[in-house]
Assembly symmetry: C2
Homo-oligomer: 340 residues x 2
Amino acid sequence: MMTKVGIRDVAKAAGVSVTTVSHALNPAGGTRVKTETREHIRAVAKDLGYAPNRLASGLRNQRSQILGLVSDEITTTPFAGAMIRGAQDAAYERGYVLMVVNSGLDPELENREIRMLQQHQVDGIVYARMYHQGVTLPEELGTLPTVLLDAATADRSISSVVPDEVAAAETAVEALVRAGHTRIGMLNNVDDIPATHGRLQGYQNALGRHGLQFNPELVTAGVADTPAGRESALELLQRPARPTALFCFSDRVAMGAYQAAAALGLRIPEDLSIVGTDNLELIAAALWPGLTTVALPHYEMGRWAVTRLLDDIEGPEAAAVQEMLSCPLIERGSVGPPPD
Amino acid sequence: MMTKVGIRDVAKAAGVSVTTVSHALNPAGGTRVKTETREHIRAVAKDLGYAPNRLASGLRNQRSQILGLVSDEITTTPFAGAMIRGAQDAAYERGYVLMVVNSGLDPELENREIRMLQQHQVDGIVYARMYHQGVTLPEELGTLPTVLLDAATADRSISSVVPDEVAAAETAVEALVRAGHTRIGMLNNVDDIPATHGRLQGYQNALGRHGLQFNPELVTAGVADTPAGRESALELLQRPARPTALFCFSDRVAMGAYQAAAALGLRIPEDLSIVGTDNLELIAAALWPGLTTVALPHYEMGRWAVTRLLDDIEGPEAAAVQEMLSCPLIERGSVGPPPD
DNA sequence: TGACACTGCCAAAACGTTTTAGGTAGTGTG
DNA sequence: CACACTACCTAAAACGTTTTGGCAGTGTCA
C-alpha cells in the first residue's frame, strides 16, 4: 500500500478504461459490461485493495453519503449513547456514516455547526434532543431533509419520533394495578414538557380504566432528580392512608423514593411497590431490589430517525409522519402485592 | 437560496475570476490580491451566503477536515458522552468535524467501519475504548495518523491518553488519611486491566507514604458492579476490626457499599467513610449522602486526543507520547472522621 | 446489399475547489 | 528606448469519480 490506489490504477491493471471499471463496480452500470469482464475487473480491484474515494464520488453525484446528527447536551445524559448507536447502526446498514455535533445550549454555536455540516454536503440531518421536548427548527436547516429525534415541532410539518408518553404511564400503572394496588401515587415532574403532561394523562387513563378514583392528593410535582424525589416521596408516604405504590417520573426520582422508603422503614416491595421510567441500567439494575421500570426506547428512536431520513433522501417525496414508539415494561424486583 | 452558490457565482457577482476569489478568501492567498478587492470579494461572498464545498476542497487538497472516532460499546457506559463531547469540542475549534462509528465487540465490523472512514478520506482517527485498557491496533489503520483514547498499545509506538490510575487512587486514599482514618479497605476489581493494578498500587503507595501497614485482609476483588460491591462490602465490614473507610473501584461499587452499610446499620459518613472512582454524576450525586469520588477525566481525555491528533496531522513529525491525565477529587458528603 | 439494432467498450465532460504558471499594465533604470 | 521589476490579476490543470454520448463490430432482416 505504497500509495492510494485509484480507479485509474484498476483500469490500467485490468487493461480497460476507467469508464468500464466504474460501470463494472457500480450496479448503475447495468448491463453495459460483459459479465466476464465485470468479474475480471472486480477481481483486480479486490486484489489491489481498491476503495472508491467518497469525496470524489460525492462531488460528482452531489451526494455525500453523510448524515449529520445535531444534539443538545450529549454529555449530561446517558441516553445519548443509545440514541447515537441506534442512529449509527441504521446508517451503517445503508452505507452512510454519521457526523455528530453537539452545541450545548448555545443557539449561535448550533447554527455555526449546522453550517459546517452543510459545507460537508451532508445529505440530511437528524435533529436530536436528549429528552422529549418541543423545538423550533433553526433557520439554517433550509430545505435539507431533516427528521426530529426525541423532539417535535408545533406545526408537525416535519417527521419526528418520540416515546409514547401516555402509553408508557399506562403500562407502568397497569403493572401496579395488576399486582393489586388501589392507592397508587405518582411522583411527577414540574417542567412544562410533553413527558410531564403525557404521563399524568396516562396515569389517569389507567386508573379510570380500572375504576379507580383519581386523587390529586396522591400526585406531587417536583424537580426530576433524586433529592427532590426523596422529598416528594417522604411527604406522600407520611400522609394518612399512604399510597401502597408509586409511579415515578424517572428512575432518578425512583431512587429518591427508595431512599425515602428506607428512611421510613418501609421495605420494597413488601411495604411499598415502585415503578420508574427510563430504564437507566446504571440505576435501575443497581438499586436493591432491582427497579421495575418502563424503558424509553432510545436505541429504537435513533434507528427510526435515520431510517426515515434515508427513506426521505433516497425515496420519493412523502408526507411527514409523527411517530410514537412504545415503552416496554422491564420487570425487576420492585413490584409486589400491597401489604395485608 | 434557490440553488447552491458556488465560487463562480461569487466571482461573477464580484466581477473577478474564481482564482481571485479563492485567493481573497483563503489566507494562503497571501498578498496576491489588493486589500481593497479582497474586502469587496469578502463582502460579496457574505452577501450571497457563500460557503465553500468541502468535498471539492477536500478532493483538491487531499485533506477532508474530517476525523474518525471509532469506539467500542458506546451504549453501555455513560462515559462515552463526555469523551465524544471533549473530542468534538476540540475538533470544532480547529475547523474539523467528527465521524463517529462504534462497532461493539465485533472486530470484523470494526474493520469494515474503519475502511468506510478511509473511503471518506478522514485525516486521522481517534481510537477509543470506553474504559482504560490495552489494545492492539487493527491492521486496517495502516499509516493513518491515529491516537488512542483511554487505551494504549503494548509497544507505546503511538500516542495515547489515559487516566493516571495510580495517582487517582493515591488522591482517594489520601483524602481518607487526611480525615484521620487508619484502617482503610479497598473494594477492587478482578479484571486484569490497568485500572485494577494501578489503583491497587496507588492505594499501597498512599498507605506507605503515611506509615500505614498494607493489609491484604482489607482488600477484596470482585466484579465491578453494584451487587458485587454490596457483597464485598458486607464481607469486609463484618470482619473483626472492620475498616472505618472504603476506597471503591468505581461509583457503582460504592453504591453497593452504601447498600451494605445500610443493611448493617452503619451511617455514612459517621460510622463509615467511602470514596468512589468515576464521578458518575448520575450515581455520585444521587446517593445519600453524596458520594465523594475521584473523577475520571473523560472530557479532558477526549480533548487531548484530538488536539494531539491534529498536531500530528498539521504539524511536523513528532515522537509518540503516552499521556496520563490526573483525576481530581470531587468532594461530596461521604467522608468524615472515623468513629470515636 | 444496405438499413438497423444490439453489444461491449471508451473519450471526455462535469462536479467545485486550489494552485501553478503566467499575463498585463504601470513604474522606474540604465 | 529597451529592460527589469512590481503589483495585481487570470487561464487552465488537477484532485478521483460518474455518466453521457458516442463508436466500432456483429448480426438480423428486408
